[in-house]
Symmetry: C2
Subunit: 340 residues, 2 copies
DNA sequence: CATTGGCACTCGCGTACGGGGAGTGCTACC
DNA sequence: GGTAGCACTCCCCGTACGCGAGTGCCAATG
């Protein structure tokens, strides 16, 4: 019994099952693929694959269906990259390039992935922690409130209102603004504390409180991982006929609303050294997502690590090669556009 | 045949149907409600109500179900306000008050409504057009780019990057910033053009280009209605068992992803003079929503018209009184918090 | 004239039954 | 190792049937 053919059989089963959404039997397999052997031989291979846990049958005497483990092997070894057509590539480029601002770019990217994969698309906003500060702006509001606005090099804007114990002195605010920007601009979070620590020295004791409060807000905001946001699109694709069991979309929608779940998955998948990371079924480590797979990749990297991630969530029975290349293509364009 | 009793019967049918999710028959009606007459009498009333188009039977010889028209009458005339329990009210207050910034407030409000109504909640971001400017900030980025940041009185922040034809002069930017804020702060969009028109006069001819570009960006941003955003929560409630036909959630999800659809509905319902506006089934004027109802109310109003709207979308067979009071309660707290 | 009890009628729904078909595992053979 | 044949298993689907809920109508009644 040839080992190679067994893998071919697994690939054929996955491809047929993805295409037809129905358990695939030995006869159908030899008819649709040039395997050069008879159904009986395939049956022997199938028995071995089932023994190994790569496929299973829904009921006795039905066709075979890939298991999580089968999909995993398929993704790791068998799938060949499926490049997008050149019109598709051009469409992605122009669609993203005509965006107005960061929100718009992210919004378009997520819709694009939903459209291309016909699944649920997820985009993580550029992370504050990994991006650098471009500018800090201080805006007095009334006499006792100060609005702190942070602008990152990815174009993201974050704001906090600060309540003060003493009335504001405009000249102190102006000086603080200048010094803040000199010290902090262009620095990443990890480099900030040192730079900001010495900031208070140049100010009168009476103003120390203000300076410290502002510095605290800046650091806190940048450190606040909970501020990370994800944006969804294409949830309606969950309800398309022929998708996963229609009843099972409830738990999936619940999981998708829990930003925490998605953020945890994103950060866990960032560890993955592969260009495109894939989590299949139980690998997602979340009950609501056991019947789905999650394909993600990083974007916004500048030589080093990526700033955030985008991805697509679909049924176990998804078109893995297609989804992976669509996600990667959009990520590349996104990276290029954010670099401007 | 008493006209009053007929309305009582309709109310009873709506209440029972909402509670049991099953067509209600004449016998069940007299058992569950103290109507003081026999099933046969109820049957006569039912025949009249059916004649009038307020109820219908799914199949011959099944119980009756309210029609859109029936729900409409119920909402307009029959439903009594259902006040929230005082622990509920307190929970709303504290939950919203502990929010950090505008994004957080909106996020909490939408989750709250989803939780209270067990339906899909929708919140429209405070509209730029109707809110007033609190502050304009100009931030040079490099020598030829200027970041324009607008802050509204509802705490919303909007930004645009401007590309210039000449190098920036810091002192000109500072003067422009000062004058912009003097002229524009506190003004609504409708009052802006006049105030900004005279702004360029105080500047040297060489700087006119810069001034005009900034003014154009400010006006354009405030005028840009497409920037209106809506935020959703509780979509998983669509898939709860016992909700509308599980198959019909596809079109609903599609409609919810089209921000345009929701924005159109919001703006149309803003015309409604009622405290809480309701659109039932076909009244939504959208194919995907024919099997749902939409309950909305305005928030953020300061004596005058409201700034934006919040609402809840659920099956035709929703708890109208409960939904209406939940939506209104959250809107009130939201208004109070934004006023700070 | 509104109300009521009685009664025949209509359907939807759940259950049971049975044939057809697809697919398998096993065994004997090349 | 690969192949053909064959008995077996089980799902699926169409049909039939009885039960129950609910209706519409009619004649009787206060």
């Amino acid at each position: 019994m040839s080992e190679d053919r067994r893998l071919d059989v697994l690939r054929a089963i996955v491809e047929d099952y993805v295409a037809t959404k129905e358990p695939v039997g030995s006869r159908a397999l030899v008819e649709r693929h040039a395997l050069g052997v008879s159904p009986a031989t395939i049956r022997n291979d199938m028995a071995a694959l089932e023994e190994g846990g790569y496929i299973a049958q829904p009921h006795t005497s039905a066709g075979r269906v890939p298991t999580d483990k089968g999909y995993r092997l398929f993704v790791d070894q068998l799938s060949t990259v499926k490049p997008l057509s050149s019109p598709e590539r051009r469409a992605i480029g122009t669609f993203l390039e005509t965006a107005q601002d960061l929100d718009d770019v992210v919004d378009r990217a997520v819709r694009l992935i939903a459209q291309l994969t016909q699944q649920v698309a997820v985009v993580q906003y550029p992370s504050l922690r990994r991006s650098a500060l471009r500018h800090v702006e201080l805006v007095p509001v009334g006499t006792r409130h100060l609005l702190v606005v942070l602008i990152t090099d990815t174009g993201r804007v974050e704001q906090r209102t600060l309540e003060l114990v003493a009335d504001l002195d405009e000249s102190v605010v102006a000086r603080l603004r200048t010094r803040l920007n000199v010290s902090a601009a262009g620095r990443r979070l990890s480099e900030l504390p040192v730079a900001l620590g010495e900031l208070a020295e140049g100010f009168a004791p009476a103003d120390q409180h203000l300076v410290n409060a502002v510095v605290a807000v800046v650091e806190e905001t940048l450190a606040q991982e909970s501020e990370e946001r994800v944006v969804l699109a294409g949830t309606a694709n969950l309800a398309r006929v022929g998708s996963t069991d229609v009843r099972s979309i409830g738990p999936v929608l619940e999981a998708l609303e829990e930003q925490v779940v998605l953020l945890r998955l994103f950060s866990e998948m960032a560890e993955d050294h592969a260009a495109v990371a894939v989590r299949i079924g139980r690998e997602t480590q979340h009950d609501g997502l056991v019947e789905t797979s999650f394909v993600t990749t990083g974007y916004g990297d500048e030589g080093g690590g990526s700033v955030a991630r985008i991805g697509s969530i679909g049924p176990l029975r998804m078109d893995y090669p297609g989804t992976m290349s669509a996600v990667r293509a959009v990520a590349r364009y996104l990276t290029r556009i954010l670099a401007q």
